[in-house]
Amino acid sequence: MSEQRKQWPLYEVFIRARSGLEHKHVGSIHAVDARQAVEHARDLYTRRQEGVSIWVVRSSDIVASDPGDAEALFEPAKDKIYRHPTFYSIPDEVKNL
């Protein structure tokens, strides 16, 4: 057997596109540690000034909802249309509501 290579851990990368905006998930990257993950994310994801700030999080630290549960989780909000302002009919003469 050849050399047993140890895989570098995976990090999820979040970029703040502009000052004031939230960080958004853009992809992931392998790196030896968090510091290197930031450096590599800089090289990989911001070559065209896509961001002003980078967050990295170990992928194994992310807990995600199960896609199979999507219906049970999100369906109940579907019939609650009264959470939207358009549900209420306000006459046109009434301004600024």
Partner: protein, 331 residues
């Protein structure tokens, strides 16, 4: 790599004086350029303290704000109104959570924030210390109180502190339905039987002045305004926002066929603004001091909810620990 070393700049820093000046200048020019300050950026301690105070007061207001309307959930006049009211109160709880999280980015813990509220040392909006004796109060709160809140909150979407501004964008999106459902209730009552119309007028009579006072003291007596404006935590003065609210709301009251309880209220052709009568600031100060009609009841209710929920929090933690222990045992 990060700037986190900078915000711990303290007594042990050799060049503290000169460094603090440059840091402060850099900070202010960032604010002047409409750039956002983020949690790991250096910021003056007074800026941090002001934000902690303001954001936590705002969060407490959302939480205590659930109580006056919550009173009506079991007695809402129809299933539709009940579903809507539950959704609204649920939103307000959510707003409190967004805001507590924003405050926590400034280095204060959730537990400390809750303790301040329950101990009665933290402030929350004076408006929630008024009672809700009739169903029309639910309409008046949505229309006027949420209306005034929206007026206050929209400029904060551009606040210099990133997490607060972003929380506010989310909140403002959700507020719109709150105000519209309130106006719809008022419209239904105002167009209903004479008794319902009277109920609507009575609610307006009781909620008008407290809503006007929600914008805070007059500019001349407001102690925080100037500095907050420089820091772009505040974009408009109390009086400016109050005036905007009045200009928008008086015509809405007219549409409803209701009268704003201010005999001095008049339209001024020259300035194109309404002119209102004197505000009873004594009442405002009394409510702030804790002597409003419901101050004690609100805090007692909040404390009881906290105490009665204790076993749930403890049980959840114990269960999670047990699960973890089982997993390590199995491994």
């Amino acid at each position: 790599m990060y700037t986190q070393g900078l915000d711990s700049l303290g007594a042990d820093c050799l060049h503290q004086a000169t460094d603090a000046v440059t840091l402060e200048q850099r900070f202010q020019s960032k604010v002047d350029a409409d750039d956002r300050i983020e949690p790991k950026d250096w910021m003056p301690d007074a800026y941090r303290q002001t934000l902690i105070r303001q954001i936590s007061q705002h969060a407490h207001s959302e939480i205590v704000g659930m109580l006056p309307e919550g009173n009506w959930i079991t007695r809402a006049p129809s299933l539709r109104r009940k579903a809507v009211l539950i959704a609204k109160v649920q939103d307000e709880g959510g707003h409190g959570m967004y805001l507590y999280s924003a405050a926590e980015t400034l280095g204060i813990s959730r537990d400390e924030l809750l303790e301040q509220l329950l101990a009665g040392t933290a402030k929350y909006s004076s408006i929630f210390n008024y009672p809700t004796p009739t169903w029309a109060d639910v309409g008046a709160i949505g229309w006027l109180v949420d209306g005034a809140a929206i007026m206050n909150q929209i400029p904060i979407c551009r606040c210099s502190y990133g997490p607060y501004a972003r929380a506010m964008v989310r909140i403002c999106k959700e507020e719109s339905f709150h105000q519209r459902q309130g106006f719809e209730i008022m419209m239904t009552l105002a167009r209903g039987t004479p008794e319902q119309h009277r109920m609507a007028q009575d609610a307006l009579n009781r909620w008008w002045w407290p809503s006007i006072m929600m914008f805070g003291p007059n500019d001349a007596t407001s102690k925080h305004t100037a500095q907050s404006m420089r820091w772009k935590i505040k974009r408009f003065s109390n009086d400016e926002l109050r005036q905007k609210f009045i200009d928008i709301t008086v015509p809405q009251a007219e549409f409803l066929g209701l009268t704003v309880p201010d005999p001095d209220m008049r339209w001024d052709e020259a300035t194109q603004h309404y002119v209102h009568g004197p505000i009873d600031w004594k009442e405002f100060e009394e409510v702030l001091k804790g002597n409003g009609p419901c101050n004690r009841e609100r805090l007692e209710t909040r404390r009881r909810a906290h105490d009665e929920g204790r076993w749930v929090r403890e049980a959840a933690l114990a269960y999670a620990e047990k699960q973890r222990a089982r997993e390590t045992q199995a491994a």
